[in-house]
């Protein structure tokens, strides 16, 4: 079941970012939320920076580091393989976050973050190569949605209510695959003059940053036309994501679509 994807980068700091983008893209294909994906990105950044600075002493231009991602059940596994002299980052002292400022050394955070952000970190020297393995557990609780689901039927149900109001009911995962469909749909409604958009989120199981961005841009456009985007029926995981990014302060959010519609009909 393991589908391993790998990227080779030259051992230079300038290439770390490409590796980050690669890992983020792989992580986003799982049900990991944005926070967990961010953790993976940061752990890989810190680990690669360590390898390039300490393993290669910044002189690894001719060497490559192999970055691989795979999913094994509920584990997202990142493996970094390099040919620098044996270097086990896990042996190095991590700073103590409780230490007062004056006695603090400014650096050394890398391995500390790697350990805190990932669930498992292991190092082994094998065949003359360093192999660092980082594991992030994919939170359980949401069934894996077959990736075909959002692609097969891209258009979400819409109900036009008249008076410039419409209900949109997206389903499944709002990730970079399906978000463009939602964007097209919301833009179409806004252009039609529907400036009161009721988005019923009760069948949305996951929202990625791409989905969040689209909601915000629709919200802005609706507000510009004295309308609004009202959300309802958020699943607990979605509510958590909204709170994490502070969107619960931005959007009017109702427990049910009916409550959202009722609130609208009462307002002048």
């Amino acid at each position: 079941m393991a589908d391993v994807k790998c990227l080779d980068i030259e051992a230079r700091l300038e290439r770390v970012r490409d590796a980050c983008d690669f890992v983020v893209a792989c992580a986003e294909t799982t049900e990991m939320d944005e926070r967990a994906v961010y953790h993976c990105q940061m752990a890989v950044d810190e680990a690669l920076t360590n390898i390039i600075e300490h393993g290669f002493g910044f002189e690894g231009d001719d060497s490559t580091i192999e970055v691989c991602c795979e999913r094994d059940g509920n584990r997202f596994i990142i493996t970094l393989i390099d040919e620098s002299p044996a270097f086990n980052p896990l042996e190095h002292e991590a700073p103590d976050p409780d230490e007062p400022l004056d006695s603090r050394e400014p650096g050394g955070w890398g391995i500390y973050f790697i350990r805190r952000l990932m669930n498992e970190v292991t190092y082994q020297r094998q065949d003359g190569k360093n192999q660092l393995t980082l594991v992030k557990e994919i939170p359980a609780g949401v069934e894996s949605v077959p990736s075909g689901a959002s692609e097969a039927d891209p258009v979400f149900p819409v109900r036009r209510l008249g008076d410039g109001a419409a209900v949109v009911s997206p389903t499944g995962r709002l990730d970079s695959n399906s978000s463009p469909d939602l964007e097209r749909l919301l833009n179409m409604l806004l252009e039609e003059g529907q400036h009161w958009l009721f988005i019923d989120m009760s069948d949305v199981t996951y929202i990625a940053s791409s989905g969040l961005k689209i909601l915000v841009s629709a919200w802005r456009r609706a507000q510009d036309q004295n309308g609004d985007v009202l959300l309802s029926g958020l699943q607990p995981r979605i509510t958590e994501i909204f709170e994490m990014v502070g969107f619960d302060m931005l959007f009017r959010i109702f427990p049910t679509l009916e409550a959202a519609l009722a609130a609208h009909s009462k307002s002048p």
């Binding site: 770390v16 950044d45 976050p97 400014p106 650096g107």
Partner: protein, 112 residues
Amino acid sequence: MVMEINSSELKRVQLFEVAGRVDSTNASELGAAMDRAADEGRNYIVLDLGGVEYMSSAGLREMVRVLKRVKRSGGDLRIANPSERVREVLELAGLDTIFEIYSTQVEAVGSF
């Protein structure tokens, strides 16, 4: 997005608005920008991280270094508007107890 730094000289405070991605390739640039203000005796610094989508420990390192420096001259480095992700990282590093962190730029600037 690459890192962008916008520096403005306010009455009492030197304000840095940072956007984009702060990592090991560019953190020293951010540190150097703050050093230039401190060199001119402008030791009240606000770092608005509102536009920072990603920051690695290299960015934290520069922030801690400059904080220590300006504190020695009676100044301070205060943080405004970090994203939830960046705030989490500051907390993980225990830096939320060392830096004063404000949710808005106005509050951070007004705190001096």
